[in-house]
């Protein structure tokens, strides 16, 4: 076992120990359930009716919102790097989205959209600036010497994208996706809780809160972390695979 895994495992064990001690000190399950109670709840959760539907509901909407942000953020960043007018036109919007609190957007969206679209819109809104800004940065960091070669040989834009921009955008795109998937999950579930979106994980968290079911709340939180990590790893792996395919063709 390598050192990285050992240190990470120690860190998790320390966290669980502190949690156990705190739950003993607090002494009330509805305030802080113990790790054992949460683990017991977590094991039962997948066998309860509606678990898969609830998870799929939130996963589908949050991931769709992220995918929209990925496609639109990438396309607009590529266009903005070519046409500065687009970059300047988008600048105020991107900065407003970055700075306005997500709660404000959620409440505004509750007025504008149906509950079903709320999660998609919020996940999109949070992931978009991260992907757009990073891809734009990657485009701007493209190797100027290779771009000079491309201009000398009148290389068409598609080929320039593949050989000059892709190597430069790749690290920016991968790191932004790593961050943006997690951000989309955080904001998406927050939107579901505030909007009490029917059939969502957010609704389960809300119910756990009002019925003082602390073990449920923490078990669902662990489910969210799991889904977020799985979707992030899966998407980034697929993206890496796709980029490798392009590099090899």
């Amino acid at each position: 076992m390598n050192k990285k895994v050992i240190y990470k495992s120690i860190s998790v064990l320390i966290f669980i120990a502190i949690w156990e001690v705190l739950s003993i000190i607090v002494g009330e399950d509805f305030l802080l359930a113990s790790p054992y109670q949460v683990a017991k709840r977590l094991v039962r959760l997948p066998f309860e009716s509606g678990f898969m539907m609830t998870s799929a509901f939130s996963l589908g909407r949050i991931f769709f919102g992220f995918l929209l942000a990925f496609v639109l953020g990438t396309v607009l960043a590529v266009l903005a790097s070519r046409f500065h007018a687009i970059e300047y036109l988008l600048w105020p919007y991107v900065n407003v989205i970055k700075t306005v609190p997500v709660a404000s957007f959620i409440i505004l969206s509750l007025i504008w959209f149906s509950y079903e679209r709320l999660t998609i819109f919020i996940a999109f809104l949070i992931a978009f600036p991260a992907i757009y800004s990073n891809v734009l940065q990657g485009m701007k960091n493209a190797d100027s010497q290779l771009l000079e070669v491309a201009s000398l040989y009148h290389v068409p834009f598609g080929r320039k994208m593949k050989y000059v921009y892709l190597p430069s955008v790749k690290p920016f795109l991968l790191s932004s996706c790593n961050v943006a998937v997690g951000m989309a999950w955080k904001a998406g579930v927050a939107a579901e809780v505030i909007g009490i979106v029917k059939g969502s994980i957010g609704e389960k968290l809300y119910e756990a809160k009002i019925y003082f079911q602390n073990a449920d709340l923490l078990a669902w939180t662990i489910v969210i972390i799991g889904l977020s990590v799985i979707s992030e790893k899966l998407f980034v792996s697929l993206l890496k695979f796709g980029i490798r395919r392009i590099e090899r063709t």
């Binding site: 010497q145 290779l146 070669v149 491309a150 000398l152 290389v155 050989y163």
Partner: protein
């Protein structure tokens, strides 16, 4: 055929004049070697001829529409394979068999599908030269193309370049007069301004 005529050409970077009032005729269909001390403006002159920089004054008259260039740096896309780096410039205008044959001439036959980042410095240099030769050109510019190659390889690569550029307009920058001799080039010496 593309003769290149330079008239009263001047170029400076800030307060530093690099080329002053240069007049030069570069004959078509032959190799011309530009020699001279470091900082005398050889690379700047090549960049002006290639249209990568604009002169401060003077004019460049050239019929060369398509220019191929071996820069002092390799300028390769490191994540891509050797053959992909050739494709970057030629697209689908050259078939894979011809590219492979050209690379074999440069003794790169075993590394055709390897990513450039895995190659040695000398191999990368040869890929850069092969890429320039694979393109269609009226004028080929070589800026110290053999830099970093050992003596044995230098001889071999020079022979390959010579075979591929017979009857073509070539401008070749070097510090080594033996390279000019082997290439059978007309030599022009530049001096510092």
């Amino acid at each position: 055929m593309s003769e290149i005529v330079l008239r009263n050409l001047s170029k400076s970077y800030g307060e530093n004049p690099v080329i002053s009032d240069l007049n030069l005729n570069i004959k078509s269909g032959v190799t011309t070697c530009l020699m001279g001390p470091s900082g005398c403006g050889k690379t700047t002159l090549l960049r002006l001829i290639a249209g990568l920089e604009k002169p401060d004054s003077g004019e460049i008259m050239s019929e060369a529409r398509k220019i191929s260039y071996v820069f002092q740096e390799d300028r390769l896309s490191e994540d891509f394979s050797v053959i992909s780096n050739i494709r970057f410039v030629v697209g689908k205008t050259m078939n894979s068999e011809d590219i492979r044959n050209l690379l074999k001439e440069f003794e790169l036959g075993d590394v055709i599908d390897k990513p450039v980042r895995e190659l040695s410095g000398g191999m990368k240099r040869r890929v850069a030269i092969a890429r320039a030769l694979s393109a269609t050109y009226d004028l080929l510019i070589l800026d110290e193309p053999l830099k970093g190659l050992d003596e044995k390889l230098k001889q071999h690569v020079m022979e390959v370049i010579k075979n591929h550029t017979k009857g073509k307009t070539v401008i070749y920058v070097t510090h080594d007069s033996t390279e000019a001799d082997v290439m059978g080039a007309r030599v022009i010496c530049l001096e510092k301004t």
